[in-house]
């Protein structure tokens, strides 16, 4: 318990009414911010993708259609709640919450404000208590994020399995394979960040990037690119939305869901988009860090500017995710697996090796050029081996299915 609590300076002393109040306040504020954020995200996505497709998008409910999400939510709430006869009732009801709760929980470890510039550690004073602008700052930090995104797989998988219907089952089988595969790439690119940060706490990772030492260029871009691609797959967003591929699987894992339970899946999906963008910002773009004039009043330094920077960066990634969706056609399932296993994971691993050699050379006082060249040589050998083994494997496959020449093959 102590190790869980020591992350936040407020909790290192005794816990009184003020501390509890602050925690409750933070929970309520982050919950509300996330809900409103999701509402706006759905609207933003629909509007933006409409712009990109020469359409108008929602424009009836409220000014610019802002309340469309609200209207949809109310509609879903009052719809009939259907449950298939052959479903497993308990798991069927549990699954939406298994999707939704991790989506909420990830956001608790994201620092959304606090002064991190000029070597600041993001500590703010709230009601006379020194605290961090995140609901929790556990020592396991980023591992908690990865764990939560793994748990979200259960929501999708159990939803498909418990529906007692074939399309949801196929969708959930795809989902579990896809999400588990891409979690490896996700984890390996996070490892590069952790190597530089030397800590798992999100607060520590952000503080380490202070002074424009953002991980996006400190890790030389590659882990960032891998992370964004893997995150898109992890979120089941286009072009990796095989999980709910409408043209093939009706609705994928949530085919049998209706009413409020479907709304929860929908909510979780968009909430995951928001929180995953927040994780990217935290890991690679310095979270709420940005230029802050030292002469500004305290609330501007601690809250206004950092929050502006944070949500500005968040917004960029939301835009990018929608842009992906508007631009890229869906991957075929084997292409998805190829991209994950044969490209992203080796790339993240190789890059991690190179960064590690750089780090070790720095620590041991070796010549960094020699160390990096050595690592590059190892990675190159590995890449050649991987490539030849892939070629050999696909060649053997082709021999097996000589008649299937019309069926496509290696792409």
């Amino acid at each position: 318990m102590d190790t869980l609590l020591t992350g936040d300076p407020m909790l290192s002393g005794g816990i009184g009414l003020t501390e509890i109040l602050i925690v409750v306040l933070k929970v309520v504020v982050s919950f509300a911010a996330l809900m409103v954020g999701v509402m706006l995200m759905v609207w933003f996505e629909r509007k933006l993708i409409a712009d990109m497709q020469n359409r108008i998008g929602p424009n009836r409910a409220g000014p610019f259609g802002l309340f469309q999400t609200l209207a949809d939510g109310i509609k879903l709430f009052f719809k009939e709640d259907l449950q298939p006869e052959r479903s497993d009732p308990f798991v069927f009801k549990l699954a939406p919450y298994l999707s939704l709760v991790p989506a909420f929980l990830v956001f608790t470890v994201i620092p959304i404000a606090g002064n991190f510039s000029n070597g600041g550690d993001g500590v703010v004073t709230l009601l006379g208590q020194e605290t961090l602008m995140q609901v929790a700052n556990p020592q396991m930090g980023i591992l908690f994020v990865l764990a939560m995104s793994s748990i979200a797989v259960y929501g999708v998988m159990l939803a498909g399995w418990s529906s007692g219907s074939k399309y949801p089952l196929l969708g959930s089988v795809r989902a579990s394979a896809q999400m588990v595969s891409y979690e490896a790439a996700l984890g390996l690119s996070v490892a590069s960040v952790l190597l530089l940060a030397g800590t798992l706490t999100t607060n520590g990772i952000v503080a380490e990037q202070s002074g424009w030492r953002w991980n996006i260029w400190m890790t030389l871009l590659v882990p960032f690119v891998v992370f964004v691609i893997a995150a898109t797959a992890e979120l089941n967003r286009p072009p990796f939305d095989l999980v709910e591929a409408e043209q093939e699987l009706v609705g994928g894992f949530h085919t049998e869901y209706s009413s409020i339970r479907f709304a929860l899946f929908f909510l979780a999906e968009f909430m995951n988009t928001v929180t995953m963008s927040a994780v990217i910002v935290t890991l690679f773009l310095g979270g709420p860090e940005g230029p802050i004039p030292s002469g500004a009043p305290g609330w501007v330094q601690d809250y206004l500017l950092p929050m502006t920077y944070f949500f500005g960066k968040l917004f960029i990634f939301l835009f990018i995710f929608v842009w992906f969706r508007a631009t890229l056609p869906r991957f075929r399932y084997d292409q998805l697996m190829d991209l994950g296993w044969k490209f992203l994971i080796p790339l993240a691993l190789g890059w991690f090796l190179i960064l590690t050699s750089l780090k070790v050379a720095e620590d041991q006082g070796w010549n960094p050029v020699v160390a990096v060249l050595g690592a590059v040589a190892v990675v190159a050998v590995g890449a050649v081996l991987l490539r030849s083994s892939i070629r050999a494997a696909s060649g053997a496959e082709l021999e097996d299915v000589t008649v299937a020449a019309s069926g496509g093959g290696e792409s």
Binding site: L48, D51, M52, Q53, N54, R55, I56, N59, W323, A326, T327, L328
Partner: protein
């Protein structure tokens, strides 16, 4: 970099929302409407001669040609003292089921007396099946050649006589206005071309302009 070209395309669409590359042709339908095409097929009307007689002679050719079998006609012999139509017979029952009608206009082509024509009215949403079956009394035009507006019909921003019905039929209605003759798109509904304006008749645009300020027709002003 074939992958990245796609991103440029979508981004330029987004940037050029107001420009020509991102031109959006969607109109805000209930508030704005698009001009209807010249040969738009809407709901039918049953026309009348200048003396007030019905043109329909109950021959059932329209019902025979109808591919959707949505027309039901039963003819009857005219009372020689009080004929409903010139000739021996008239349409005693005339019903069109708009849940079946596909607006192919074949009935209009088949009609030997130009009794049935199509208007360009299309906004009629009924809430029960009996409303969907238009009876003869509902299909018959008034003295001025206008169709009747039924309670469930939405006529948009009022009724545009030049755009919504056949000008020829309006011109030859019992109290029709001859200035409606020969207007482009008015008389082409039978499929054999547009009648050219005859001596001194106004052009289409003039009549349209006059029709919007039409005050001597009390039906028009009621619809506006």
């Amino acid at each position: 970099m074939g992958y990245l070209n796609g991103f440029v395309v979508t981004f330029r669409k987004w940037l050029g929302t107001r420009s020509d590359t991102g031109r959006r042709i969607t109109v805000q339908y209930p508030e704005e409407t698009r001009p209807k095409p010249e040969r738009f097929h809407g709901r039918h009307v049953l026309n009348r001669y200048t003396d007030g007689m019905e043109k329909c002679i109950g021959c059932e050719l329209c019902a025979g040609v109808c591919p959707a079998r949505c027309i039901y006609v039963r003819g009857a012999d005219n009372d020689p003292d009080d004929p409903r139509s010139p000739g021996e017979r008239y349409g005693f029952v005339y019903e069109i089921n708009y849940l079946r009608c596909i607006h192919c206009d074949l009935c209009v082509e088949a009609c030997p007396t130009e009794a049935i024509t199509e208007t360009k009215l299309f906004e009629f949403a009924f809430t029960n099946r009996s409303d969907a079956i238009y009876t003869k009394s509902e299909l018959l035009v008034g003295n001025d050649g206008r169709p009747q507006q039924l309670p469930w019909e939405h006529w948009g921003d009022g009724f545009d006589p030049a755009a919504d019905t056949s000008g020829w039929m309006r011109a030859t209605a019992p109290s029709g206005d001859a200035s409606f003759e020969g207007i482009v798109a008015w008389s082409a509904e039978l499929g054999y071309g547009v009648r050219a304006p005859e001596g001194g008749q106004p052009l289409e645009a003039e009549v349209r302009a006059a029709a919007t300020h039409d005050t001597h027709d009390d039906h028009d002003s009621a619809a506006h």
